[in-house]
Symmetry: C2
Subunit: 451 residues, 2 copies
């Protein structure tokens, strides 16, 4: 687990593959560019009918593993709009900036670090000195647009946890070590965006703030790095596409004393999916000072009062979804079917994560097969998202489902009328077994590991 970077398979970037994934996502309804009929909203994305199911499955898996099944964790759902003083305390109004330069001639604006030389890359004009540009989206609350009404869209979900720390502690009678977990949207007015959903202006995070006695922080940091890596492996992501990258000191954010990224090898290269940071008591101390509220924890057993240290595993939901799509996407030149000539693709998602669990397919549109298939479809849909498809040859329908990662293809054929059995085709092995129609729910439940 977590081999160092050198030992891991290194592939050259493959932008063409990336583009085919983007194209599949749009064509089949995973991810669309936001407001595409108006030319798109800069680096903002909408999840389509299949995308929302995949994303929900990922969020549900995280919530179950991180909150439901742990004794030391509770959930939270804080708002996107917060009091502006939160961002003073957190340091965001001051340091959450990119240096920008303006061209004095054509008035264009650039990120200083993207510029080579000292002239405008477009018109050759003179550039201003670099000035800090805050990456938070600004808005105004209340009826008057003045300085006092300015607030921001949160650039990270974790501050909602810190400001509620004391409320949660009291309401749920918790004591360190314990964590507060949250899933929610964050917004960053990024200057340099790109790589599909990887760096977008509106994105979803899953964050844990895990509060520990200061002397235990290093141990818990190590624990969470391994625990979170283990979780990504449990989602079925290939080990050779995962690595840990400890940050060097110069990279550390202003609040962190140490940080390790969990990186995935995307088609465009290695990049962060999740960061695990030791934030020390930076945040609670800052909020204590700025709010004047006592945020310390009093340990009754040890008669000791302290500000807990915080270990933060902070992951990107959209990045995990993108990693899962890239990891599961496989192209089969010439296809897998008998007469296949075109390139076919299969999405080898873990069945638990697949948007659609099964497709019910009448072999032909006669002999009562559609009715029988419909009845099975109606029964299965009580439990899972299931497709029904009677259009085109059976091979073509299997391929359509392979492309979106449906693990089980259930076919009603002529034998079904005789003995009530159907065939179940496995997406990955393409093997078919006959299963009694009235045992299908149990069969699929068993395959999905649901108990």
């Amino acid at each position: 687990m977590g081999k160092p970077a050198e030992a891991v398979d290194q592939r050259p970037p493959d932008q063409a593959k990336m583009e085919r994934i983007v194209s599949l996502c749009k064509r089949r309804g995973f991810i669309f560019p936001s407001s595409e009929i108006y030319g798109g909203t800069g680096s903002v994305w909408d999840y389509g009918p299949l995308g929302v199911l995949l994303k929900n499955n990922v969020k549900h898996a995280w919530w179950r593993a991180v909150v439901q099944q742990r004794d030391d964790m509770v959930g939270l759902d804080a708002a996107i709009l917060m009091h502006p003083r939160v961002w003073e305390a957190s340091g965001h109004t001051k340091v959450f900036t990119d240096p920008l330069v303006d061209c004095k001639q054509c008035k264009q604006r650039f990120r200083a670090t993207d510029i080579e030389g000292d002239r405008c890359p477009d018109c050759g004009g003179e550039l201003t000195e670099a000035r800090p540009f805050n990456l938070m989206f600004k808005t105004f609350m209340g009826p008057v647009e003045d300085q006092a009404a300015i607030t921001y869209l949160r650039p990270e979900t974790c501050q909602g946890i810190f400001v509620n720390f004391k409320h949660v502690l009291t309401a749920r009678r918790k004591k360190p070590p314990f964590g507060i977990a949250q899933i929610g949207k964050s917004f960053r007015n990024e200057i340099t965006t790109g790589n599909f959903t990887f760096r977008s202006r509106e994105f979803e995070q899953y964050e844990i703030e895990y509060f520990v006695p200061p002397e235990d922080a290093d141990r818990w940091f190590e624990y969470w790095v391994q625990e979170r890596l283990r979780w990504y492996l449990a989602l079925g992501i290939k080990q050779q596409n995962l690595r840990l990258r400890p940050h060097c000191e110069a990279e550390l954010a202003h609040y962190a004393s140490c940080c390790t990224d969990i990186e995935y090898q995307f088609p465009f290269g290695w990049a962060e999916m999740e960061g695990v940071a030791n934030r020390g008591d930076f945040d609670l101390r800052q909020h204590q000072e700025h709010s004047g509220r006592d945020l310390a924890f009093f340990d009754e057993a040890e008669k000791r009062r302290y500000l807990p240290f915080v270990i933060e595993p902070s992951g990107g939901v959209d990045r995990t979804v993108l990693a899962l799509l890239a990891d599961a996407y496989e192209e089969i030149p010439g296809g897998r079917g008998a007469a296949g000539a075109e390139v076919e693709s299969v999405l080898r998602l873990q069945p638990q994560l697949a948007p659609i669990k099964a497709a019910v397919l009448p072999l032909v549109r006669r002999d009562g097969m559609p009715d029988r298939a419909r009845a099975i479809y109606d029964e299965l849909r009580r439990h899972w998202f299931v497709d029904y498809d009677e259009g085109g040859s059976i091979g073509r329908r299997y391929r359509r489902e392979d492309e979106i990662g449906t693990p089980f293809g259930i076919t009603v054929d002529s034998q079904t009328a005789q003995d009530g059995t159907v065939t179940v085709r496995d997406r990955d092995t393409m093997e078919q077994v006959r299963v009694a129609g009235d045992r299908l729910v149990e069969f699929i439940r068993d395959k999905l590991g649901e108990c």
Copy 2:
């Protein structure tokens, strides 16, 4: 179902009860004021550890009933930030306004409809003419804060559905009648807020846009009014607290040709939980004109091209949660226990919606009872959110769980060591039955109606 207003029980508003619910929500971890350590963010709320579970259960119930179990519906998760032209097409930049007046003397701003007379209610100064104030939150995308960069936080989720209509149609091969369903945050810079989470500036909606042939619109409108009312009843909301209120013509929004609200009798009075509107083809037509894209549906069977009409059942997630809390909240003066003197409260939530499904309680902290209770707790937590509590008398612990709506209190007592059984106490009847420890999962699953 849906008795007219006159026939329904009418209670006087009970603000004191409302305040006790608000207090319970904060104390036990359902809902906190956002950024409360900084004095709160105006009319924005955070969901605490129990609140997020209740809200998730409500959203899950909606998603399952409205998307998973229907053949004619698909899901979507569009972004909050959209192209600004969306709001020109929808009419929001022009008509989504409140009339405001300014006091020329003290510079305060008021909603014109809140003012009686023609002078400032605070200082008596002269007032300006009423001017329209847009209720959308404005922000700037990209590095330059100018007119061209202005965009808005969506004030309703449905526009994300309309702009993706054609994508979804194609990707999932749907045809009218069919619907697109979505859950997500919306934002309105309300001038008049209040009644706890009822009218807040950041809120969550669940919306269905149901696309139908124009000639079928009236029929589908009636269908959805009844279907949505039925769903609220299925959540366990008392029938006498629900009513339908058809809008009079003067109330209709600019896009709607007819609308019926599903209202709940909150402690502060009757108010809208969901609105079902016939939006006609207003939205698709507007987006077609503004984007220049053809948004019509071509019916292959009938060889007919048309813009579908849209029936929109649009509900507030936060309002449903608040209605459920108010509906389930019951005070028992003198308490239900043997020596009860104080007022006790019970949250009679439907077990499927309760944040915590069961509490595991060792009768006393000795004779191995805590260990046995822990083992049961660990087993149950694989399936549901479950509490473990060993602090205080058993009566006190039952009351703590009653207060947050936990349907089952599981007690490990001296008999457990002998025959492996535990007592299961029903929150509502307070009856206790003995159940074998290894049959608890089945017992609870059965009570929850899970199959």
